[in-house]
């Protein structure tokens, strides 16, 4: 008779988190909403666009993927639910009793969410671009996938959405409250840069271009934006934001009591 080992392994924790993610209705709602928003706004942009309407100077990919600003919020909500949702429901107690090392849970959650968001947004962005181009074909926004920077921007937009959702996941893990993390994300990530942007200092402007949403904007543009950091610098900045948002709860997780 062979003895089966029931030891916790990273792949088992991953499997558990994958199972958790897809057995909640809220996952399906946020993911489907995000996809439909990006596709829907993309189609809307394509069908309503006119060559002389004043949007001619807007980057084609940016124009097509306007909806990802809304879709991104849905995916951030998902990221927050994945971590903070466990605390509000009390599931965290069961989770950390099953995996008392705790950190593997955080990494597994990040991996599962990251993979899901990246895959879905890549596919959605491709589909949205191709659909929008059906309507944009005879305008000055006509473009092909093979045009300079287009594939890179479609992928960059997906990378931006992925890193923003991981940032939200980290906020959820650190704050352990769905409303708290949602407030922090909307206030700190979406609104704060706009407020700081009103300050009349050049240094502030430079710093702002490396803030999460701005960096994500750079990543999603096929043509270089004026005064913006390079795509590489933007990717690095956004990665550091997400890493910082994950490091904070990782440091806290080891020793903080799982109360409740």
């Amino acid at each position: 008779m062979t003895t089966i080992s029931y030891d916790i392994t990273p792949s088992r924790v991953l499997r558990s988190e994958w199972h958790k993610l897809w057995t909640l209705r809220s996952t399906w709602i946020t993911v489907v909403s995000a996809v439909l928003l990006v596709l829907g706004v993309g189609v809307l942009m394509g069908t309503t666009y006119t060559s002389d309407g004043g949007d001619s100077d807007v980057d084609t990919v940016v124009l097509t993927l306007y909806g990802s600003q809304l879709g991104g919020v849905c995916l951030a909500v998902l990221g927050i639910l994945v971590t903070a949702g466990e605390y509000s429901s009390g599931l965290a107690r069961a989770t950390f009793t099953a995996v008392p090392a705790r950190l593997p849970v955080l990494w597994a959650k990040a991996a599962v969410l990251g993979t899901t968001v990246l895959t879905l947004s890549l596919l959605t962005n491709l589909a949205t671009f191709l659909t929008a181009q059906v309507f944009l074909g005879d305008t000055d926004q006509a473009a092909a996938l093979t045009d300079d920077g287009v594939l890179g921007a479609l992928a960059g937009n997906a990378a931006g959405l992925t890193l923003l959702s991981l940032l939200a996941l980290g906020l959820g893990a650190a704050l352990r409250s769905v409303p708290g993390a949602l407030g922090a994300f909307i206030g700190g990530v979406l609104v704060l840069p706009e407020v700081i942007g009103m300050l009349p200092y050049d240094a502030v402007d430079t710093a702002l271009r490396h803030f999460p949403t701005q960096a994500a904007g750079v990543l999603g543009s096929a043509t270089p934006l004026p005064d913006a950091p390079s795509a590489g610098a933007a990717l690095l900045a956004l990665t550091l934001w997400a890493a910082a948002a994950l490091t904070a709860p990782a440091l806290l997780l080891r020793h903080r009591d799982v109360r409740g």
């Binding site: 029931y6 199972h19 993610l21 107690r93 950390f96 009793t97």
Partner: protein, 329 residues
């Protein structure tokens, strides 16, 4: 993405087929050594030491707010002790490579996401240890949840929630179980089921630690008792000892010849009057009193052994450590 749980396909034939191969290998002893937990300037658990042994049901008893849940969370590594250690098999709970097979736990409050169906909740926990689906279906059967396994947990009654918690505790076929107030919210049938379950688990050689604030419940289930109040150890004893220490057993005797019987009883018997023709006798048990009465042809109408009530013993023990005392209305 995840295999659907098919409610139309009943979870095999648990109950009739034997349980899957036991995952359990060795027995687990739970030990708390000088455990102390402070939150700010409030000390919830103070210098608490006790040992829970395999093969018995150990009741963990104390009034509400005594620090029972905090102690159990420290045993499970959810809360870090301010001082002291809690170990399972000589090792911190978190140090076990497959902790669900060492200790299964039901904690005080609900520990599941309301939007997930019961089956998926258990399956997600099972995945962390590679525990097979058949075992999940088995514990659903054992806890009587098979019928509702496909329902979202948010619709569960308190009792069903407790059963789901117990199912999760049994998932790893653990060597020890730690259950915080398991009968809370259960109907009488459920309470009896928990009692039997705890006894069976102990009879299989497992370590069973079960907390309660109800002495009467523990009297029916536990062999050993660890009693705490305001975070301190008040008694580490057996049910029988607690009663004996709480007050000597006495015998109530009713006889028309009570006065004569009083003079006939040998030492160390002591008697006190309890009304006309009624004696309370301590120091001599009912058979001995009966024999004396028979030998001297004293007519007896009643001969009733009385033990100090366990509830009273518990109240005496914890009286000083109850957080909020009610005054007589």
């Amino acid at each position: 993405m995840v295999p659907r749980y098919d409610t139309a396909r009943p979870a095999a034939d648990h109950g009739r087929t034997p349980a899957p191969r036991p995952l359990r290998s060795v027995e687990a002893m739970i030990r708390a050594e000088r455990l102390t937990k402070r939150y700010g300037d409030r000390t919830v658990v103070r210098d608490l030491s006790f040992t829970v042994r395999p093969g018995t049901v150990t009741g963990f008893l104390g009034p509400n707010g005594a620090g029972k849940s905090t102690t159990l969370r420290m045993i499970l590594g959810l809360d870090a002790p301010t001082r002291g250690t809690a170990t399972v098999d000589g090792r911190a709970y978190a140090g076990h490579p497959a902790p669900l097979t060492r200790v299964g736990a039901l904690l005080d409050a609900r520990s599941f996401h309301p939007g997930r169906i019961a089956f998926h909740h258990l399956m997600a926990l099972a995945h962390t240890h590679g525990i097979p689906r058949s075992r999940v279906e088995h514990v659903l059967g054992v806890t009587g949840l098979t019928e509702v396994a496909g329902r979202r947990v948010k619709g569960f009654s308190l009792g069903m929630g407790q059963r789901l918690g117990i199912a999760a505790a049994l998932l790893g076929d653990p060597a020890a179980v730690v259950l915080d107030e398991p009968v809370n919210g259960l109907d009488p049938e459920g309470v009896r089921w928990v009692r039997t379950l705890l006894r069976d688990l102990a009879a299989e050689g497992r370590t069973v630690l079960v907390s309660s604030h109800l002495m009467s419940e523990m009297a029916l289930t536990a062999d050993r008792l660890v009693v705490i109040g305001k975070g301190r150890l008040l008694a580490d004893t057996t049910v029988a000892e607690l009663v004996r220490d709480a007050g000597a057993a006495s015998v109530l005797v009713v006889s028309p010849d009570a006065d004569r019987l009083r003079t006939l009883l040998p030492a160390p018997a002591r008697t006190s009057d309890e009304g006309p023709g009624t004696l309370r006798v301590t120091g001599l048990d009912a058979p001995a009193i009966g024999r004396v009465a028979a030998a001297h042809a004293v007519e007896l109408h009643a001969l009733t052994p009385e033990t100090a009530s366990l509830e009273q013993a518990f109240m005496d023990l914890t009286h000083d450590s109850v957080e909020y005392q009610g005054a007589p209305a």
